[in-house]
């Protein structure tokens, strides 16, 4: 009989809180009367994320020493907990943004259950310390997201997005899995640090596996040239789901990339640092150039998300403690900015009932000052202007690249930022510098009531975006402690 391993239930508590919330929300779909379904399921999902957030903070405080959980299948360390904090906060805000979305009410239970389950999968994924648990976490949150994209069955765009995501995402997972199999074949190990110990530098099987793992993770992080699904999926999915994907999925994928590459492949660092730098440059070029010609705001934000995958791969490619800090710092304002930006798009979409383009965003900044100012701040943050955390994040990323000796990468990043200004400021231009009257646009049936929940979420994102510029030191301390869980 196999001995039951020692299980650290506290370390698993955030995942379990989200799973519990998912299960209860799913039960709602059956047990709760129809008119109560949405509020109850929504509150359960929010409570699950709030609990995960609180537990992750507690775990962060008490995990100064990294340790394995369930025979080292997962790690309990500050890297995982900081990523959990970001994912849980994103999930909480996404729940608030979702609440007033106009889909058919009887899907509410399933929607919130899947939202909580996706978050649980990401939390599991960022803690994974073993190729199997890693893949399990990846599929867990991916499958939840596939269904979330298609939750509005009546909308063709949503179905198309979900199908595309399913096929391409499935392909990405397959590549990742094949890579894992090759690595297992080369080393005979599944656990990350054991792979590092068993791996040899010039093993072609291991290198091929590494390449496929990098490609598979780049699919999830939507980095070019593995980004093809991103614009269509971001555009077609319900906007709150897009908001959640752009913030949380990216966080999870990038943190996992950092952990796997640094822990399992330190011997091959000279290979993967260059590979990541190339992927980063591709993402910067593709994302920024393609965004220039977009009309739909969701597509602009999708390409912006690709280019930010590039920006955030730069510090990972630097392979240093400074790089780790830079990535973990950057994720905080980035998650806030993308959630907030998609939330503003969602608000406009609900008012108009049609997809939001630059044209029909005209004058919105003056109509809704809070949302307008927030969107302004998010765009400036994406473009790396001071007074937002996006500036400090870019600065740290460039600093990491320079310390690694890659001044050329700094130059590429700077040029990419310059190009990106055109479309980020284009959004601001559309919102503030044209008048609604000029374009003869009016919301269908007058202005809908203001949504307190969505506005609160946007305001929270604004506070994080601007606050992270001023409170750099505390955030960097958090990121520094988290990056110390890895052996740079």
């Amino acid at each position: 009989m196999i001995d039951r391993p020692q299980i650290d239930w506290f370390a698993l508590a955030p995942v379990n809180a989200l799973l519990l919330a998912a299960a209860l929300a799913l039960l709602c779909a059956v047990l709760v009367p129809r008119q109560w379904r949405k509020p109850v399921a929504g509150v359960l999902c929010a409570l699950g994320y709030a609990a995960a957030f609180g537990l992750a903070i507690a775990l962060y405080v008490r995990s100064a020493q990294a340790q394995g959980v369930v025979v080292d299948a997962l790690r309990r360390d500050r890297l995982a907990e900081l990523a959990t904090i970001i994912v849980a906060a994103s999930g909480l805000l996404a729940t608030a943004i979702s609440y007033k979305e106009r889909w058919r009410e009887h899907h509410a239970g399933e929607y919130y259950a899947l939202l909580a389950a996706a978050g649980g999968g990401m939390v599991f994924f960022v803690g994974a310390n073993n190729l199997l648990t890693l893949f399990l976490g990846l599929e867990w949150f991916s499958i939840s997201l596939y269904i979330l994209c298609a939750i509005e069955r009546d909308r063709l765009g949503g179905l198309e997005a979900a199908l595309k995501y399913l096929v391409i995402g499935g392909f990405g997972s397959a590549v990742l899995l094949f890579g894992m199999a090759l690595v297992y074949g080369a080393t005979g190990e599944l656990e990350l640090s054991a792979i590092a110990a068993a791996g040899r530098e010039s093993d072609s099987l291991l290198l091929l596996g590494l390449a496929m793992i990098v490609a598979g993770l780049a699919f999830k992080a939507s980095a070019a040239p593995f980004h093809m699904w991103t614009p269509d999926v971001y555009e077609g999915a319900p906007t709150p789901v897009t908001a959640f994907m752009s913030a949380a999925t990216k966080t999870a994928a990038l943190v996992a990339t950092l952990r796997i590459l640094v822990t399992a492949f330190p011997e091959n660092a000279h290979v993967w640092t260059v590979a990541l730098a190339v992927i980063a440059v591709c993402s910067l070029v593709v994302g920024n150039l393609a965004a220039l010609v977009q009309k739909s705001v969701k597509r602009i934000l999708a390409y912006s998300s690709i280019s930010h995958a590039g920006f955030m791969l730069i510090p990972i490619a630097a392979n240093s403690a400074l790089g780790g800090r830079a990535l973990l710092y950057y994720l905080v304002p980035y998650a806030a900015m993308s959630l907030g930006a998609f939330a503003v798009v969602a608000a406009r979409e609900r008012e108009l009932g049609v997809p939001v383009t630059l044209e029909n965003l005209a004058g919105y900044g003056w109509e809704r000052p809070l949302l307008g100012i927030s969107m302004w701040a998010f765009m400036l943050g994406f473009a790396g202007f001071p007074l937002t955390g996006g500036f400090v994040g870019k600065f740290y990323a460039f600093a990491a690249a320079y310390r690694h000796g890659w001044t050329w990468l700094v130059i590429v990043g700077v040029i990419a930022t310059l190009v990106s200004l055109y479309y980020y400021l284009g959004v601001v231009r559309a919102m503030f510098m044209r008048r609604t009257e000029d374009l003869q646009l009016a919301p269908i049936g007058g202005s809908p009531p203001r949504e307190a929940l969505l506005q609160t979420a946007v305001f929270a994102c604004l506070v994080v975006t601007v606050g992270s510029f001023f409170a750099v030191q505390p955030l960097i301390d958090l990121a520094k402690n988290a990056a110390e869980s890895l052996a740079f």
Partner: protein, 479 residues
Amino acid sequence: MTTVLILLPIAAGLLIWLLPLNRVSAGSLALLAALAEVGIWIQLVARYDFERGGLQFDQQRNWFGDLNVSYHVGVYGFSVWLIGLTVVAMAAAIAYAFWAGRDRTRAYMGLMLFLTGAIVGVFTAQDLLLFYAAFEAMMIPLYVLVGVWGGPGRMAATLKFVIYTMAGSLLMLAAIVVYGLSQNTFDLVDIGPSSSNWVFLGFIAAFAIKAPLFPLHGWLPDAYRESSPEVAAILSGVVSKAAAYGFLRIAVAKFPEPVQDFRAPILALAAVGLVYGSLLAFRAPDVRGVIAYSSLAQMSLITMGVFAVNDLGLDGSVLQMVNHGLVSTALFLLAGMVERRTLTGELGRLGGMARGRPALATLLMTTGVIALAVPLSSAFAGEFLILAGVLRHGWGWAVVGAVAIVLAAMYMLRLISAVLHREVGPAVSDAALDLRPAELGVVVPLVACLIALSAWPAAISQHSFRGDRPQADVEAQFR
């Protein structure tokens, strides 16, 4: 005290933006804040020890320690005068905007006050990253001020303006990353000199675009024509000085060797810009065009003075920064007043406005005469010092400068005669009144400052550097 100077306008701006005030109370509150800022600056001048010189009223707090970046602000002798220029010009601009009445007053006034704080931040920042943050923070309100409240071609003008200036700024960011990390500190006082040409050029790119310097002035005519008069006044009067300040505080002080290597090309570009700007100003078809291109010429002259890096050139360029700031602000505001009355700035449709409008005529004439550097004016003192400074590097530079002063007389006199004299233009009706008391209240203080400076230019030129030895101060990197 320095922090108060930065934060007071920003806090007042936020307050005005958030409180549900009506047009009059928002405007008066903004004006009050701007005047309070002037009051604090007067305190600063009174308490700054010019005998001792160097960095005073400095405050330092940790921002992020692992890369040695801090919130470090302080004031040098020359920055005292540039801050003074900022607060006086901003107060005049805000007063004019209040009087002229802008749509969405709260947002407008809030942005103007935010801009004040950002510019003061540029002149006081003693940390490279903080300097960059303030330098960029200027762009945020300017982008909206030009883009929302500007003229019909404002969209294209703002886009050009932002892309140009951000291209320079981002090169500067790359230079800052390289410079700061290689020296392991971002503190402007502690950081040692660098001999890297690339880093130097990164900084120069940003400042040369912002100033602007030939051939990087493509954004200038559109931005100055399309923005409202008070914003154009601030752009040419104050924001351009941030670039000249950057030349002085960072480029010249921290890069002694690259300055030697690149002096000839930079002086040559400045000389070309000086002559070219003057000629364009002479050919410009409208009032704002004349002032805009004269600004290009004057900034080139100031740049020549800075890159002379000797006692006379540096003294002259600081004096001329303040002179040109005041002149340009006053001229743009006067241009706005003329445009309000005639609905056009085209010189061909103006004329004869002196008749029956003595106040306008007197003020435009006085400002114009000071701008063309007539002897005994403060601009004459400034330009003379700059020319004497560049003479040390070759008589050719001084000749070009002297020619440009003649050209300045040509374009200024053309402007004055086209607006004030000749026969009455088609756009000028008898109903167009003389300046109102409120308008006088805006422009007269600026002109009074200019006259005071003409009487005593040494107030600035002898109170800008430690021990009145500019070259030694620069060579010691203002430490």
